[in-house]
Amino acid sequence: MFWYIVKRFLYVIPVMFGVLVLVFLMKLVMPGDPVTELLPLTATQEDRDALREELGLNDPIAVQFADYVWGIISRGDLGTSYKTKQPIMDELMQRFPITILLGLLSLIIGQIIANPLGLLAAVKQYSWMDSLIILFTIVGASLPNFWLALMMIMVFSVNLKWLPSMYNGTAASLIMPVIVSSFGAIAATTRGVRTSMLEMIREDYVRTARAKGQKELIVITRHAFRNALVPVVAGIGSALGLLLGGTLIVETVFAVPGVGKYVADAVTQRNFPAVQGGVVILSFAYTIINIIVDVAYTIVDPRLKTTFITQKQKGIFFWGRNLRGKVPAAAGKGGV
C-alpha cells in the first residue's frame, strides 16, 4: 500500500511534464510577440533586442523549453503578465486561496445535500419522492450555471435584497457562488448515490441482515449505504474537475477574485502568459486532488483491484474518472 501511494504521487511528475509540454506548445503557436507586449511603445530597438535576449527568445526551442520547465521548478516562474507586468505566479497565488475555498465549500455542501437525497430516492424507489429527486437530478444537471447565477441574483439580490450580487469579501457574498457551483455536482452525485444504493440493496448481505432481524434503518445506513459510498468517493475527483472548470464561470458572474476569473479575464484581454499560468496551476491542483481521491479510495476499498475494475470498464459512472492505469492491474502497477 505504501509503495502504491508513493508511486501514485510520483505519477504527478510525468503528467505535469506532459501538461508543460502542451502548454509550451501553446506558447509557441500563440499570436503576439511578448517583447512588444511587455515593453512600452516608446522602447528603442536596443531595448527590444535586450529583452528578447533576456527572455531567451533567440535560443533554440529545446533550450527555451528546458528554461521554461526549470524556471517553474526552481523559482516558480510562470512568466510576466502582459497586463500588469507583474510575475504571474504572485498574482495567481493571491487568487488561489479563494478559489480553493469556493471549491471545497461547494464540494462539502454538495456532498451533504446529495448523499441523503440519493439514499432517499433509492430506498423509496418508484415512489413520488424518487421521481421528484430524479427529476431534480436531470434538471439540476441541465441548468447552465451562469443562468442559474443570474436568476439567483435577480431573485435574492435585485428583488429580495437579501444577498449581495457581487463578491465583497463577506461570508454572505459567498453563499450564492457556493450554491451555484455545487448545483451540478449535487445532481450528478445524487444520481450516483441512488444507482449505487439500488445495487447494494439487492446484495445478499443486506438480505441476510434483514433476515437476522436487524432494524431497517441500521440495514440501510450501516450495511447498504456504507458500501454504496465506495464508488461515490471515486466520483469526488470528477466532481472537483467540474467545480474547477465551473469556477471560471461562477467567479466571473459573481466577480469573485479567484484563479477562474483571472484566467477568464486573461483570455478576453489576450493576456496569453496568464492563461498558460492559470492552466498550469489549475491542472496541478486537479492532478494532486485526483491522486488524493484515488489513494483515499484504495484505502476505503481494497477490493478495488478486482471488483471495481469491471465498473470502470462499463464506463458508466467512471468515464472520465481517474482510476488510472492498465485495466487488470490498475492499483498494483501505480498506473505508469
Binding site: 436531470i138 451562469f146 486537479y286 472520465g320
Partner: protein, 301 residues
C-alpha cells in the same frame, strides 16, 4: 421444434435475448430496446423538434433576428413579442429560434468529431491492448489532467473568436472523454467468442474493429455521446456568455444572455428565455442519455 413454438413464445424469447456482455448490443437491437423506453423517446423527440426549429428558423420566427426597433426596446412578453424584446428592440423569441442553429448543432458536431478522433483511439487502445493501450492512455491522462473547460478556453484564446475556432476547441475538449468511454465499451465485448473466431479465420484487425466490436458496443458509446453533447451545449453557451465563444450579435443563446445581463433588474425576460432554451435542450439530451442507459443496462432493471 419450430412447430411447437407459438408466436408469443418467440416474441418472449426475442424480448429477453441479451448478448453475453449484457450491455453492448447491435445497433438494431439497441434501437428496439430504446423504442420501449418512453423517457428516451421523449428526449429524442425534443431534440428532433429543436433541430427542425433550427433548420426552419426563417419560417417560424416572426421577426428577423437582427432587425432593431427603437420604438419597442426592453418590452415585456406580449402577443406581439412572445418573449419580449431586448435593449435594441430585437424580438427575443425570434433570436431564441435562430439560436437553435448554434449551440445544438455545434454540440452534436463536436461529439462526432470527438468520436472520430477520440473514439477511434479508444477502440484501437482497447483492441490492441498492451503497449498501444499504454501509450494512448498515458497521453490521454495528460490531456485529462487539464480540466476540459480550460482546454477549450485556452484553445479559443490561441485561435481567436469564431465559429470554426469554437468547434475545434470544443471538439478537442471532447476527445479524452470519448477515448476513455469507447475504450471501456470495447473492453466489454472484445473477449467474446466471435472476435476469437473472426481472428482465426483471418479477418483483418480493422474489419474486426469496425464490423464486430463497434456495432456490439454501440449502446454504451451512444449513452456517453449523448451525455457529452449536453456537456458541449453547456460549454458553448458558457463560453459565449463570458464573451469568448460566439460573440454578439450572433443569436447564440449564451450570447443573448450575455448581452441581456446588464438589464437584468429592468428586463429579466431577456435573460430568462434564452436560459430556458439551453436548459430544455440539455434536459432533452440528458433524458435521452438516461433513458438509453436504463434501456441498455440490465443492472438497473
Amino acid at each position: 421444434m419450430a412447430k411447437i413454438m407459438t408466436p408469443a413464445m418467440e416474441k418472449l424469447i426475442k424480448k429477453n435475448r441479451y448478448n453475453a456482455a449484457g450491455v453492448g448490443s447491435s445497433g438494431k437491437e439497441a434501437w428496439k430496446r430504446l423504442r420501449r423506453n418512453k423517457t428516451a423517446l421523449f428526449g429524442m423527440a425534443i431534440i428532433i423538434v429543436l433541430l427542425l426549429i433550427g433548420v426552419f428558423a426563417p419560417l417560424i420566427a416572426p421577426y428577423s433576428y437582427f432587425t432593431q426597433d427603437y420604438a419597442a426596446t426592453l418590452q415585456l412578453p406580449s402577443a406581439a413579442h412572445l418573449f419580449g424584446t431586448d435593449n435594441l428592440g430585437r424580438d427575443i423569441f425570434s433570436r431564441c429560434i435562430y439560436g437553435a442553429r448554434y449551440s445544438l448543432p455545434i454540440g452534436i458536431l463536436c461529439v462526432f468529431i470527438g468520436l472520430g478522433f477520440g473514439g477511434g483511439l479508444g477502440v484501437i487502445a482497447a483492441y490492441f491492448g498492451r503497449k498501444t493501450d499504454n501509450v494512448i492512455m498515458r497521453v490521454i491522462d495528460i490531456i485529462q489532467a487539464i480540466p476540459s473547460t480550460l482546454i477549450c478556453i485556452s484553445l479559443v484564446a490561441i485561435l481567436g473568436n469564431g465559429l470554426i475556432q469554437l468547434i475545434i476547441a470544443i471538439a478537442a475538449g471532447t476527445i479524452p472523454g470519448m477515448t476513455r468511454s469507447c475504450r471501456a465499451a470495447i473492453f466489454m465485448v472484445k473477449n467474446n467468442d466471435y472476435v476469437e473466431s473472426s481472428k482465426s479465420i483471418g479477418v483483418s484487425n480493422l474489419m474486426i474493429m469496425v464490423r464486430h466490436l463497434v456495432p456490439n458496443a454501440v449502446g454504451i458509446i451512444v449513452i456517453n455521446a449523448a451525455n457529452a453533447v449536453s456537456g458541449n451545449i453547456l460549454t458553448v453557451s458558457a463560453l459565449s456568455y463570458i464573451g469568448i465563444g460566439l460573440v454578439p450579435p450572433t443569436p447564440e443563446w449564451g450570447a443573448i444572455l450575455s448581452e441581456g445581463k446588464v438589464f437584468i433588474s429592468v428586463a429579466p425576460h431577456v435573460v430568462f428565455f434564452p436560459g430556458m432554451m439551453i436548459a430544455i435542450t440539455v434536459v432533452a439530451f440528458n433524458l435521452f442519455g438516461n433513458g438509453l442507459r436504463d434501456a441498455l443496462d440490465p443492472r438497473l432493471k
